[in-house]
Amino acid sequence: MIRAALIGNPNVGKTEIFNRLTGLSQRVGNFPGVTVEKKAGRMIHRGQEVEVVDLPGTYSLTAHALDELVARDYIVMERPDVIVDIVDGTNLERNLYLTLLLLEMDANLVVALNRWDMVAARGMKIDVEKLSELLGCPVVQTVAITGEGLEDLKNSIVEVAGQKNAKENRAVQNYGDDIEQLINRVEDVIQKSPAPVEKYPRRWLAIKMLEGDERVMEQTRASLSSPQLAEILSIIEAGEAAIR
């Protein structure tokens, strides 16, 4: 069975796409320990069974807000086969921020460029092929309310799930030499740590540690030796001093 998760900014038509994909089979569930709901449903496409999970709508993936944390933990810990990022085509600039965060998390991504009818109606033009090339993942135009493009989206979900090298060309955000150097140094320390840390994408972990993300610090504390932790903290400190 393929496991797919839907994510996107609030009010981009995410739940409408969820309902289109899963028909009437959706049910409402709860993530353990929190009150933020997730919905899960199933679809069958090209003979493949796909479990589709609708994650809370978010603008970012920090540890500060519960809904963002639910979405982020699901992606990092459950490692779904495909993440479908529903993007409001009429507001790419704001929406693509989340897309880049997802790529940073090593997500196996499909971008649904939703509200495609509105894009044309507003006289906007988007070079979909170029966008797909820049992001390094498939981009599918959709109109959730009419169902347009949903077959293409289903095809992409099944295709990407079956591709082992789907992530090879994905876009990596470059933060500039000074920050990149810090990321590399933290990654080197993480690399030497025992197995448990390795289930997280290493670059993502390094970035979160540099941001001082309390959740990541807490989650990795057990996996890192105290000299390693001390080394990472000194890299962060030196980095902050240099940037200031």
């Binding site: 920090t62 500060h64 704001r94 921020y97």
Partner: protein, 78 residues
Amino acid sequence: MSTKRQLTDLRPGEKGRIIAISTSGTVRGRMMDMGLVAGSEVKVIRVAPAGDPVEVLLRGYSLALRKKDAVNVTLEVD
């Protein structure tokens, strides 16, 4: 010549370019997540009575800010 002004000093219709966000921690991170970073152009759409909240247009969408957060946004205004 451009002048330095706080976001809360702008009237509806006026715009500027962000040069600094002088707050820290979670609020700063949240504001940056929403696209309020140095270089972003911000236009004030409307201001509620007593100046709280302030609705601005940035990156093609509307964002409402509390007065106590908006006051920390420094803009360069032409």
